[in-house]
């Protein structure tokens, strides 16, 4: 049973959802709270057995709202805690995300996107790019967002999600899609590669023999709220400077640069290579962090490239961030599938050919 293996240093064929769950356990996740929803239910299913086996906390919550608030509670004690969900259910968690950002709590949320809006369907989608990067909670807050493109990255970025969440005391979302959650690939679990973060200055561990600490989302005066927001945004700036991550191939001489994250980036990569064989100068930029978004790099590339094409499974959401970075220097076009599997390599190649003719 591949889903039950937690062996490091050995290749195993594993589903994205199980890879995320296994990696969370290896990252030291002490508490999982969740409510099932397709296409990520394997995460909760796996955790329900494994966490008990390891004598860690697992609660099958009565709702998504309860689950994310349980994560807030656990994280306020400094524990590594997470939940996982999908689209319409992540929508229910938006208020809590805003509170967690305001409380500066290291909650980890795995969001495996399905079709929306509303109940939508269970096909793969990237319709929650905006939900993750902009969010629906109140106030000026930011969530760190990581976007895996392979099953191995489901492991590596889950590790990273726990690390960044605790390092910056900030909610962090692992944003996968239904295709990645259900996909199997050979992967290797390595040991959790990051240092443990000291949280003794803020974690609520019982005030015996010390003054009480308070975690509160409330600023009674305008001055304190200004001070708080400035400090919060100085932190976001630091995250942008230190943690922006992307993959970049063949961009130096590229006329057309494809920008794509998650599973469509796989097809964009193959299409880029096909086009290179045909002599069309195409490059690929794959954002790995969606916040912080690699805007600075895209802005630099806009000086040399003649066009950007954003490849997404939605009606065009990331394209907005690409356009902001390009800032009108060159055209930014959209190649999308509204929902379902990503645009095929053939579709991407034929679109590039068409665009390159009129460049």
């Amino acid at each position: 049973m591949t889903e039950c293996l937690i062996e490091t240093g050995k290749k195993v064929l594993t589903k994205g959802n199980y890879a995320i769950a296994n990696a969370a356990i290896l990252a030291g996740c002490e508490c999982y709270f969740g409510y099932p929803i397709t296409p990520q239910s394997e995460i909760g299913e796996f955790m329900s057995g494994k966490m008990q086996e390891l004598k860690r906390a697992y609660v099958s919550a009565e709702s998504e709202l309860a689950a994310i608030n349980m994560v807030i509670g656990a994280c306020s004690t400094g524990a590594k805690a997470m939940t996982s969900s999908s689209s319409c259910a992540v929508a229910l968690m938006q208020e809590a995300l805003s509170y967690a950002a305001s409380d500066e709590l290291p909650i980890v949320l795995v969001s495996v996107m399905r079709g929306g809006p509303g109940l939508g369907n269970i096909y793969p989608s990237q319709g929650d790019y905006n939900q993750a990067t902009i969010g629906g909670g109140d106030g000026d807050y930011k969530i760190i967002v990581l976007a895996p493109s392979t099953v191995q990255e489901c492991v590596d970025l889950t590790y990273k999600a726990f690390y960044l969440a605790h390092k910056y005391k900030n909610p962090t979302i692992m944003l996968a899609d239904g295709l990645l959650g259900q996909m199997m690939e050979p992967i290797e679990y390595k040991e959790y590669p990051y240092p443990e973060i000291d949280n003794s200055d803020w974690a609520l561990t019982g005030a015996k023999n010390r003054p009480a600490k308070v975690i509160r989302s409330y600023a009674p005066s305008a001055d304190t709220q200004c001070e708080f927001l400035n400090r919060l945004h100085a932190k976001y700036k630091l995250i942008e400077e230190n943690e922006t991550e992307w993959e970049e191939i063949n961009t130096e001489d590229a006329d057309i640069i494809l920008v794509s994250f998650g599973s469509p980036a796989r097809n964009a990569k193959s299409a880029m290579k096909e086009c290179r064989k045909l002599g069309i100068k195409v490059g690929l930029l794959r954002p790995i962090t969606l916040f912080p978004f690699p805007s600075k790099r895209i802005a630099e590339l806009a000086d040399t490239a003649k066009m950007f094409i954003s490849v997404e499974i939605n009606m065009g959401q990331m394209i907005r961030d690409v356009k902001l970075a390009v800032n009108g220097k060159v055209p930014v076009k959209l190649l999308n599938k509204p929902v379902g599997n990503p645009p095929s390599v053939e579709e991407i190649v034929s679109r590039i050919k068409k665009e390159s003719e009129v460049l």
Binding site: P124, L179, M183, E185, N267
Partner: protein, 184 residues
């Protein structure tokens, strides 16, 4: 080189499992491999399929292929639905117990094998999926029976290990089946 495969049939025929065995076998051969299922509101008796992309050069394979090198169709609905997806010069491997032996396209190769009937004769009709993997191994020459046996051992969970010998028998029966019997 990259090759891609699809296994399709009724829900309950073991389509996803057969694909998982094949994907494991490629992994054991140190190839890069990606397996993904059709994923919707599926039910027992409905159609289901999975695709396997095997690659020995690229580290990351593309998905949602427009064309497929090898398609295994375990029922008529899958044969009809995916016939147009077979790559020119590719292979349609059909379960002739449930699929009519017609060849609507002239630009692809057909193999008909009565895997359901053979599995029934073996004593367990559920073995049709693994039998078809034997046929696929013989036709594609991209994976060996011994690697598939090892993959079966990996995929079959501990509490079902009693079924391993029968699965291995089915695999070999598929591989050794005289295809000239139905493919004159």
């Amino acid at each position: 080189m990259e090759n891609n495969f699809m296994i399709a049939g009724f829900g309950g025929q073991g389509v996803l499992l057969a694909g998982e065995v094949l994907a494991n076998a490629f992994m054991l051969d140190n190839k890069n491999v990606t397996w993904y299922p059709s994923y919707g509101a599926e039910m027992r008796g409905g159609t289901v399929n999975c695709e396997i992309v095997m690659n020995d050069i690229e580290d990351v394979s593309s998905v949602n292929k427009a064309e497929t090198d090898f398609i295994v169709a375990l029922n008529q609905a899958s044969f009809d639905r995916f016939l147009s997806k077979v790559k020119k010069g590719g292979w349609m491997i059909a379960n002739s117990t449930l699929v009519k032996q017609l060849k609507p396209r002239a630009d692809i190769n057909y193999i008909f094998a009565p895997v359901t009937a053979l599995a029934d004769k073996l004593g367990n009709v559920k073995m049709a999926n693994i039998l078809s993997l034997g046929v696929l191994a013989k036709i594609s020459k991209l994976v060996s029976v011994s690697t598939l046996e090892k993959a079966l051992n990996t995929v079959i969970p501990p509490h079902r290990k009693n079924l391993l010998p029968l699965n291995i028998k089915a695999l070999n029966l598929g591989y050794e089946y005289d295809l000239s019997l139905v493919n004159a």
